[in-house]
């Protein structure tokens, strides 16, 4: 209940602040918001686009949420996404299997690419006690430039004018059903699977407990080191899958600057969702709606699409701040109730005594 209140309150306040900013700049906020939601949710095509754009946000968000809730500070989603995309691209360039086999194989390659990158950080942590926090951040930069080298060097499309690979085999393209790209189903399946893994399996229980109190989990007999590695591999695979689906569902080739901001948005979404899996899906869709709608809004109003970034920033701050504030308010109410109860008992006892 509190969560919904928090989300609803946060979104309303963020939209209100966004409206004030637009007003201050001389735009009409109501018309702008109408356009924004028209182009993100207002038609089946808009909705399908919003959902498709949500795929990398939700998957990297899931990666961050599961990592943070289980303990490991995996901030390597950008690098893992790139490595996953690269692995899927390489597979798509050199393999040619029938689609029913090709698509799962490329998805698996993408997950393996992401897991390789997060696994490296996990290995360094296990072997040398290097903090995964800094290692994953550094690996992001390495992945970035490694990908740049690959698409300007060995895999450069000789016919193109900017750095990119040739397109992958057609059998690896994700099928579209009308406006609906099948990447959406991969995303929904991943959310459902992760929810099940996290809430219904023994491993998920241990990850949760380890994330809340690792000493308790360790003393309780949970294999905390193994769980650390498993969570790193799993969350790397999720970010890698985001990269793979980006290639297979979109441009079908690795372009320079691919997925530049998705992964950081994913980390932000996990924080806003307080590492909840369902919350990550919800906020991922909402962020995607704002980003998608902003592009449409720019077409028919004078408001620049960058307003989406402002809205996102305000939303993050408002929701995180109001979460803390709601806790405080709840605590204070509880205190007042308890104090009132005590006073009431006191009066009752006093009256008893007076009556004899």
């Amino acid at each position: 209940m509190g969560k919904f209140l928090n989300a609803a309150l946060g979104i309303v306040i963020a939209l209100f602040i966004g409206a004030l900013i637009m007003l201050a700049q001389g735009y009409d906020p109501l018309a702008s918001y109408a356009a924004l939601f028209q182009f993100s949710l207002g038609s089946p095509y808009a909705l399908a686009t919003t959902l498709k754009n949500a795929v990398p946000l939700v998957l990297t968000g899931l990666s961050a949420a599961i990592a943070f809730a289980s303990g490991p500070v995996n901030l390597g989603q950008p690098g893992q996404l790139i490595m996953g995309a690269l692995a899927a691209t390489v597979g798509g360039l050199y393999l040619d299997l029938p689609p029913w086999l090709m698509i799962p194989v490329l998805a698996l390659l993408a997950m393996a690419g992401g897991a390789l990158w997060s696994g490296l950080a996990a290995l360094l942590r296990q072997a040398f006690q290097m903090s995964e926090f800094i290692v994953t951040l550094m690996l992001n930069i390495i992945a970035d430039y490694f990908a740049l080298w690959v698409i300007t060097g060995p895999l450069k499309d000789a016919t193109a004018y900017s750095p990119m690979t040739p397109p992958i085999a057609r059998s690896g393209w994700l099928p579209e059903f009308g406006d609906w790209n099948s990447a959406i189903f991969w995303m929904l399946a991943a959310v459902a699977l992760m929810w099940f893994l996290y809430n219904r399996t023994r491993a998920g229980y241990e990850w949760r407990m380890g994330g809340q109190n690792s000493l308790f989990a360790r003393l309780g007999g949970c294999p905390v080191n193994r769980n650390f590695v498993l969570v790193m591999l799993l969350t790397g695979a999720l970010a890698g899958l985001a990269g793979g689906l980006l290639i297979m569902g979109g441009p079908h080739r690795f372009l320079r600057g691919l997925g530049a901001n998705y992964a950081w948005d994913g980390v932000m979404i996990a924080i806003v969702a307080n590492n909840s899996i369902i919350g990550t899906l919800f906020y991922g869709l909402f962020f995607s709606a704002i980003q998608t709608g902003a592009l449409g809004m720019e077409l028919i109003t004078d408001v620049p699409s960058e307003i989406a970034l402002v809205l996102q920033g305000v939303l993050v701050l408002v929701i995180v701040a109001s979460r803390e504030a709601l806790h405080k308010v709840a605590d204070r109410l509880a205190v007042r109730r308890r104090a009132a109860d005590a006073a009431k008992n006191e009066r009752a006892v006093a009256q008893e005594i007076e009556r004899g």
Binding site: R202, G204, E206, Q212, F216, L219, G221, R336, E346
Partner: protein
């Protein structure tokens, strides 16, 4: 209901109907009314969690009451910070001594209130003179030029008191001042406190050592579970009467065990040694056995190797030398889970080691069982059986009389006693032959303590081997078959309880092998 103080009553401080709630629902002080006279030594007694320290922190401005008011010199006051309290003449010495070790005694005393010359430089001559003057005035035996590093704990405590006297404080609150002292140092502190009272200071003295309270104070206020029980004159009150007020019924400081012949050795450590990262020896050749149906109590002043011994047994630290055997299996180098097949463990810190406060009661209840109890999992241990986990929790809650809002409430929402029951129940239901308990009753109310003790004795009766670490000698004497004393990482005594006296064990705790009997 309200008693009207006579106009002549020399109340210096009157705390009226003080209520303090710790969120979400712990009622730490429930309508406490107490007054402190000018120039008296007033003891505040009660068990852990009775609200003594909370009440004093409210007075001192460290925390704020949710109800009630404080009258000081007949004016209503509300100190927002300890600084305001000190400025008004009320100071508190906490249990932990906080001094700058590298500074001298006088430097520590003037720190923060230094006399300065016109350039703002500290006037050393004047500082030293002022400090010396206070030391002389109250006949404290202290060298103002000694470095704090080099002086005893008792002397450091005097420095803390002098810091307040230097700031012209007339009301001194002392939180368990004798807890850090050796028995030999206590009389001197008391003499100095009496001297202070005779000079017109008011002293509020928090303690749970009843003999000391009766020896030192003029009046005694007893708190129980956050409520005022009584304020009585110390003269003419006996220790047993005080204990009864504190606990709410007559208490017997006697053994609660029934005689029982112990069985075979279940738990054995031999030659256990541990050196920390800096090469200091924390455990020195510790050898110890516990038999089936036997409860061994480990006594010792905190920080004498208890922490390391417990962590070596649970596997959190790797001993430098020695072996640990449970149920015939050498677990010295075994992973935690392997140990937990034979060891039930009730840690001293519920929120940090015993459970996860934000997790539900169910999630807390099934820890370790989720690995050892096949009933709780399906599909070869891949899936948790949530239905079985709920049934298990219900069984635990019923068997151990846990009172909770619901199974799915966070552990945090339970009272301390009920949290401990969840943890204790979880561990005892493991059916391990060996049970390790580290301060199992710390911070619990009296009823819960008795409950935990009953469960421990039942386990002893069922033939389990129990090892209990406790800072409370009375608890050890009440429950244990054998008492082991740890002093500087070494076992300096291992005696059957029938042959031990509290005084003798106390000497071992303080003086180790040098204790003369």
């Amino acid at each position: 209901m309200t008693d009207h103080p006579s106009p002549l009553a020399p109340d210096l401080i009157r705390m009226r109907a003080i209520v303090k709630v710790y969120p979400p629902n712990v009622l730490a002080l429930d309508d406490v009314t107490v007054s402190f006279d000018d120039g008296e030594i007033h003891a505040l007694v009660g068990e852990n969690g009775a609200g003594k320290s909370t009440l004093m922190k409210v007075l001192y401005g460290l925390i704020h009451q949710d109800g009630g008011e404080i009258l000081y010199q007949d004016r209503s006051v509300r100190f927002r910070t300890p600084g305001e309290a000190i400025a008004a003449g009320i100071g508190m010495v906490h249990q932990e001594i906080v001094l700058v070790n590298e500074y001298t005694v006088w430097e520590n005393i003037v720190l923060g209130a230094e006399p300065v010359d016109w350039l703002g430089r500290i006037d050393e001559t004047r500082s030293r003179q002022q400090v010396q003057a206070i030391i002389d005035q109250f006949h404290f035996d202290l060298d103002p030029d000694a470095q704090v590093d080099d002086i005893s704990v008792a002397a450091r405590q005097k420095v803390e008191i002098l810091k307040l006297l230097y700031r012209k404080v007339s009301v001194l609150i002392l939180d368990e001042p004798t807890a850090v002292l050796t028995p030999q140092e206590i009389p001197q502190l008391f003499a100095e406190l009496r001297e202070l009272r005779d000079e017109g200071h008011t002293i509020i003295f928090i303690s749970h050592r009843l003999e000391e309270v009766l020896a030192l104070s003029d009046r005694v206020t007893v708190l129980r579970k956050g409520r005022l029980v009584a304020t009585v004159p110390a003269a003419g009150t006996t220790r047993a009467e005080l204990a009864e007020l504190m606990v709410g019924r007559e208490v017997l400081f006697t053994s609660r065990r029934t005689p029982q012949e112990p069985g075979e050795v279940v738990f054995a450590v031999a030659g256990l040694r541990y050196e920390d990262g800096r090469g200091r020896v924390r455990l020195k050749d510790v050898t110890l056995q516990v038999r089936a149906g036997e409860l061994v109590g480990v006594a010792g002043v905190e920080g004498n190797g208890q922490f390391e011994l417990v962590n070596a047994i649970t596997g959190l630290l790797k001993p430098t030398a020695g072996t640990i055997e449970v149920a015939g299996e050498d677990v010295t180098a075994a992973p935690v889970l392997e140990r937990r097949r034979h060891i039930a463990y009730v840690p001293q810190d519920r929120g940090r080691m015993g459970g996860s406060l934000p997790a539900s009661v169910v999630e807390n209840a099934i820890m370790t069982h989720h690995r050892l109890n096949a009933e709780l999992v399906r599909w070869r241990g891949l899936l948790l059986d949530n239905g079985a986990a709920r049934r298990f929790t219900d069984r635990l809650a019923e068997a151990f009389a846990v009172s909770m809002p619901s199974r799915s409430s966070p552990l945090r929402s339970l009272s301390g006693g009920n949290q401990q029951k969840v943890i204790l129940g979880r561990e005892l239901l493991l059916d391990s032959p060996f049970i390790l308990l580290d301060q199992p009753t710390r911070g619990l109310d009296v009823g819960s303590i008795e409950y935990v003790h009953d469960q421990m004795l039942a386990m002893r009766g069922a033939g389990r081997a129990l090892l209990m670490i406790s800072a409370n000698l009375e608890e050890i004497f009440m429950l244990a078959d054998r008492i082991v004393v740890l002093h500087r990482g070494e076992i300096v005594a291992d005696v059957p309880v029938e042959q031990a006296s509290i005084e003798q064990i106390g000497r071992y705790m303080l003086e180790g092998n040098d204790a003369t009997l």
